[in-house]
């Protein structure tokens, strides 16, 4: 039986200045440019095997075009088409390479929060930057932060309960943590398929909005080095290196040159599929988000793209 949805495969973001953003994502974040076409640039992290994990799209506004999750088998696309259609949501199907270079076969549909969600199978494998025989533990000559891989995405929704229920009931994501308001509704939720604290998280805010997407780094020292590089390059740091209560992860938040929020993240824990979710109460929301400061800056909740 298939493992179904494995993990976040890629994000496609809109940028009003493609050249500036390409320079930022390749030289400061340290992604690798794999391909480009008119109005789009395809990037990957050094340890990823698939063709791309970040796509930049030239557009008049910033924000999220869509998010894509990798499924284990081709038949999973039929399986989820059926489930999403049964939920009353239209599904569009795309052949391999139809959506862009290196792209797999895909289905797309709109989540209740208005976000375009894609499931993809059979992305072109271009290999990580290491040989498959006697590989060193990391490539030489990486520039910038050079995270090994994309980790998770964080979106906003007016109705967190409803959107979370869609990801759980229809797409079979599992809830790891939630912040509950005093009246019992969900202020924010964290969901996983990859046995990590989260592949996607949802927080209260405008439908369709992107809060951030995050790259993995190996450890807390990697977070510190990332902060040094960001500050050196004049990148706006939103939240300086700290720790989350939720996910237990270490983090630094910052903005790309057009205002999309990025994160580098490490830490967390392993979860079995029957992990009992953790609940944070509204009074402890500050510690839940930023464990050391115990409070959330206003910008963190109000600025999005």
């Amino acid at each position: 039986m298939s493992d179904r949805i494995l993990r976040l495969q890629h994000v496609e973001v809109r940028v009003p200045d493609l050249e500036l953003c390409t320079a930022y994502y390749t030289e400061v974040v340290g992604l690798i440019e794999v391909a480009h076409e008119e109005g789009r640039v395809f990037l990957k992290c050094w340890d990823e095997h698939e063709h791309h994990s970040v796509v930049l799209r030239q557009a008049p506004t910033y924000g999220l075009d869509h998010m894509s999750f990798k499924v284990a088998e081709a038949a999973d696309l039929d399986y989820y088409t059926d489930r999403v259609e049964k939920a009353g949501i239209a599904v569009k199907r795309f052949a391999a390479r139809e959506l862009g270079p290196g792209w797999g076969e895909a289905i797309r549909f709109e989540a209740p929060s208005g976000h375009l969600v894609e499931l993809v199978y059979g992305m072109e494998k271009v290999g990580n930057m290491l040989p498959l025989t006697n590989p060193p533990p990391r490539p030489a000559n990486l520039v910038g932060i050079a995270p090994p891989r994309l980790d998770h995405i964080f979106i906003m929704a007016e109705d967190v309960d409803g959107t979370c229920a869609f990801f759980r009931d229809v797409l079979e994501f599992r809830l790891t943590e939630q912040i509950l308001a005093n009246d019992g509704h969900q202020l924010a939720t964290w969901l996983e398929r990859s046995h990590t604290p989260h592949d996607i998280a949802i927080v209260t805010g405008p439908n369709g909005a992107l809060h951030h997407f995050a790259f993995w780094v190996d450890d807390w020292n990697g977070v510190r080095e990332a902060a040094d590089l960001l500050a050196f390059n004049g990148v706006t740091i939103d939240v300086a290196p700290t720790r989350h209560g939720v996910t237990r992860g270490y983090t630094v938040y910052f903005f790309d040159p057009v205002g999309n929020r990025n994160e580098v993240f490490t830490g967390g824990y392993w979860v079995d599929p029957d992990f009992e979710p953790i609940t944070w109460t509204e009074e402890e929301m500050g510690r839940a988000m930023f464990y050391y400061a115990g409070q959330v800056n206003e910008r963190f909740f109000t600025v999005h793209s």
Binding site: M1, T133, D218, E276
Partner: protein
């Protein structure tokens, strides 16, 4: 679906008191339960009843290792697959083994006893589920790893043992070391999207090479080395880095000679991850990337 991860390792010790003191005070595991001649231990972040069982016996060594399956049905499916391969399977009912429900046990081709289990008693980790701190209390003794990570066993025929894990149990090979004739000297296998849940290297059938606990990062590996050295524990190798798995590591021996490891790092393989191959002439770097030596103690010593 199928096997999720390593659940517990059951070992024998001729000095139960000494071993218990070492695993609770130096390694920093939590005492979960004591029997007449058994001690059950767990790591602070583990939700299940135990991840290490110590049992008094005149001879040091491995009783069995146990993997958790995702669904109750997986037990019957895997029981059938293991029987079809030709192994005898023993059903262990709820109540026969402390801290868990029904399980199946069988001898694998390299002679060790393996268990598969779904239902584990779940006392929870030490943080709880309501507004939990992201860290355990600062006064936990010893290294205090959050969880058990993987184990390494020996096999005379690594290829045969590895084929059993892959074809019958659905493990995926992430890395292998090949000798000049193309024989497998060592293989690394995963179910949990990590570089390895179990590895098999050439050596005597039935032997345990080591079992390993997860640490958060390289800094924690350094602290572990400090704690081990302070307590007079014999360090086998490290702190250093592996070529295979890319992990950061230290190996050391418990008071009765069972090799332990603390481990961090690595990568995240999808099920379609292309396996990595190490050639025999690079085996030194594969094992210990900085030293580039094949330690005879590391290869020859086991329990």
């Amino acid at each position: 679906m199928g096997i999720l991860r390593l659940a517990h390792v059951d070992v024998r010790t001729p000095d139960l008191e000494l071993s218990t003191a070492y695993y609770t005070e130096v390694l920093g595991l939590q005492l979960a339960e004591r029997g007449e001649d058994t001690v059950y231990l767990k790591c602070w972040d583990e939700e299940d009843h135990h991840s290490v069982r110590l049992r008094y016996d005149p001879r040091t060594g491995l009783d069995l290792f146990s993997f958790r399956v995702e669904r109750e049905d997986d037990l019957a499916e895997l029981e059938q697959a293991v029987e079809q391969y030709g192994c005898q399977v023993q059903r262990v009912s709820r109540g026969e083994a402390v801290g868990q429900g029904e399980s199946i046990r069988f001898g694998i081709p390299s002679g060790q006893t393996m268990e598969l289990v779904h239902e584990l008693d779940r006392p929870g980790n030490i943080l709880g589920k309501l507004n939990p701190a992201p860290v355990p209390p600062p006064d936990l003794p010893g290294i205090a790893p959050p969880r058990l990570d993987h184990m390494l066993i020996n096999a005379e025929e690594v290829g045969e043992a590895g084929a059993f894990f892959q074809q019958v149990l659905g493990f995926r090979m992430t890395e292998q070391v090949l000798d000049a004739n193309g024989h497998q000297l060592g293989i690394w296998l995963e179910r949990s999207h990590s570089p390895h849940d179990i590895a098999i290297v050439n050596g005597p059938n039935g032997a345990l090479h080591h079992f390993a606990f997860w640490l958060d990062d390289w800094d924690h590996v350094r602290k572990a080395a400090d704690i081990l050295a302070f307590n007079g524990v014999q360090i086998d190798q490290g702190p250093t880095r592996h070529g295979v798995t890319r992990g950061n590591t230290i190996y050391f021996f418990d008071p009765l000679g069972i090799r332990n490891e603390v481990f961090t790092g690595g990568y995240r393989p999808d099920p379609d991850f292309p396996s990595i191959t190490w050639t025999e002439d690079q085996f030194g770097r594969g094992l210990f990337y900085y030293e580039n030596v094949i330690s005879q103690r590391f290869l020859r010593f086991h329990t």
